[in-house]
Amino acid sequence: MKNKEPLILVVVVAFTLLTYWLVEPFAHSQMHKHVEGENFAYADLSPISKTGNAQNGKVLVTGAAGCTGCHSINKESMPAAMDAVTAAGSYGVNPPDLSNAGVVYDAKFLADLIKNPAHALKVEHKFDAAKGQMHPMVPFYGAGGDIDQEIADMVTYLQSIAVSKEELTPTMAYENACGRCHAVSYEKWTQIGTKPEFKFEKESLAFDIKVLEYQESLTKYMGKLPPDLSMYIRSRGEHFISTFVENPQNQLAGTAMPRVGVTADTAEKVIEYLADAGDTKRHERASVGKNVMIFAIIFAIFALLWKKQVWRELH
């Protein structure tokens, strides 16, 4: 009698795969719009045409441009004017420390940000100068010389003090680019820094209250409290996070989240940080998975050989 098993197997596998394709890849392609990554090229921003001078940049950043009035540069021993909670009370969010801004953010983006923050951040729908809605970061109107040269100088200065790309860790990238709005409770990260181990409950509660005060200002500024990102690597996935960071408006038109302007390298590091938080055991999973697969194949081979032996007598 003809062996029908191969045909049956083909039918079962074909219907299974068809169902899988319909409910997974196809259904999801219909539910979520696909946004293609642009490799963090920021094509809408014009490149810096002038060659910057770090020395002049330092003078501007610490002087005429007034950056250090709000931003700290800890590396150059320039502390912040106020602590994070007070700063958030005044600006809505704590302005970032500029020590590594030159490596975390894209140069074109920094240049545009200095000149026109709401434009670079893509939050002009929220901050329309014509309607008197001013972005808390004051645009740089020039210090009397060629404004493009001055901006190029400032960017060059920021790049000159920053650590190298290789030295930038995932944690540094996340804390600088995302961490002032988004907590990651699984890594004990709050918007005002990593929560330390306290010996006394009173100190721990005092820290929590500071976080709550900061979050209150942030909520008022953003419209709602930006979410905790602990599990975002599993709930949103790498592709969504990457394209969202690149340009939030592409994924969610009208969102209050600004374009952050990170480089492709920084974005990769941010994703690595989130993967460490929400998919901590992924490397173990891959290596254990490989071994289990090898075992399963050996198991199947032995089962097959046993069956052949037992059935030899049956035919």
């Binding site: 197997l9 079962v12 709930s235």
Partner: protein, 404 residues
Amino acid sequence: MAHFTKATSVKDWLNQRLAVEKVEKVMASEYWIPKNINFLWAMGMVLAITFALLLVSGIFLLMYYQPDVKDAFYSVNYTIMRDVDFGWLWRHVHGVAASVVFLVIYIHMFTGIYYGSYKKGREMIWISGMLLFVTFSAEAFSGYMLPWGQMSYWAGMVITNIFSLGGLHMDGLVEWIRGDYVPAQAFLTRFFMLHVLLLPLAIMGLIGLHFAALRIPHVNNQDGEEIDFHAESKKYLAGDKAGSKVMRFANDFMSKDMMVVGIYLIFFFYLVFFQYGFALDPVNFDPADGLKTPAHIYPEWYFLWSYEILRPFSVNIGLIAFGFAQVIFMLLPWLDLSPNAVPASRRGAFNIWFWILLVDMIVLTAMGKLPPEGIFSTIGLVAALLFIILWVALPFITKNEKKA
């Protein structure tokens, strides 16, 4: 009192007290299986193995899981996934097995329908099997609540609302089931109890019944052949193993069962480690929020076909259609009026009925997940109507079937 003699061996000692030899004969070596069956007959063993995987992984998850609305999400996603050594493995095995078990159940079910294995004294096998399907569905649903993510919460909300029974407005019943106005602590703890105690007990009892129901009528075969098990087993025991039409369950058929299990496990572990997204929905990695509905709410894939039968109609008709879909499979042995217990391929119109039903259920499954808009909504409505028509037509199709 029975007469006991001094035992000559451990086996003899046990034999006097538990009749282990007799049990072994009844359950394995003289449990006769027809030879003309294919790998689809191994799905029972595949299911048993998958259930064992669920049980073992569940036991380890239970040791760290916290059934508390404040801690549940954290205990799953932080404690089990990050802290507990190999906790992630148990969760992935449990989640993937819970999804794959339904794939195998559906294959098992459609095998039964195709070969007519619910007829001629096999009705109890079919009914106990369908009861297992229902309890497995309840088990899957209650387990889906436990991580207390967005999909847990909103699936819990939507499914328990079905019990308001549309136009009857039984809101009191819904609140009674939840123990609150909305899914909250009481809801989570009672579904936890159902998931880890009551339903597993029911499932294990039903598995026993399902196996027992199989013992007297024997399993069916792929040719619809009437086998004289008594005569054929005598032939086998007399030494004509090759000439007999039957074989022992163990080791003869079990060796084939294990071969199929071996191949299945390759597929299963591939899903566990490398392709788990379909079973562990990304949306459920967002913590439950009663004031924010996710953009798309859909059940797990194995509930989609019945969910889609609920969806395209107005609320009361939808509920009636949904109720119809839940019980109709149970009645199959009485809706199929033909006495032929042979493969569908030899049953004319029934064969066409079978393949249309299968394709229709796949279409319903797909439409149940897609957003209910435009063309998808129309296809869904047509497929839901077709499902109902198919079942209503079944007695008429089979009544005048020729003797095969």
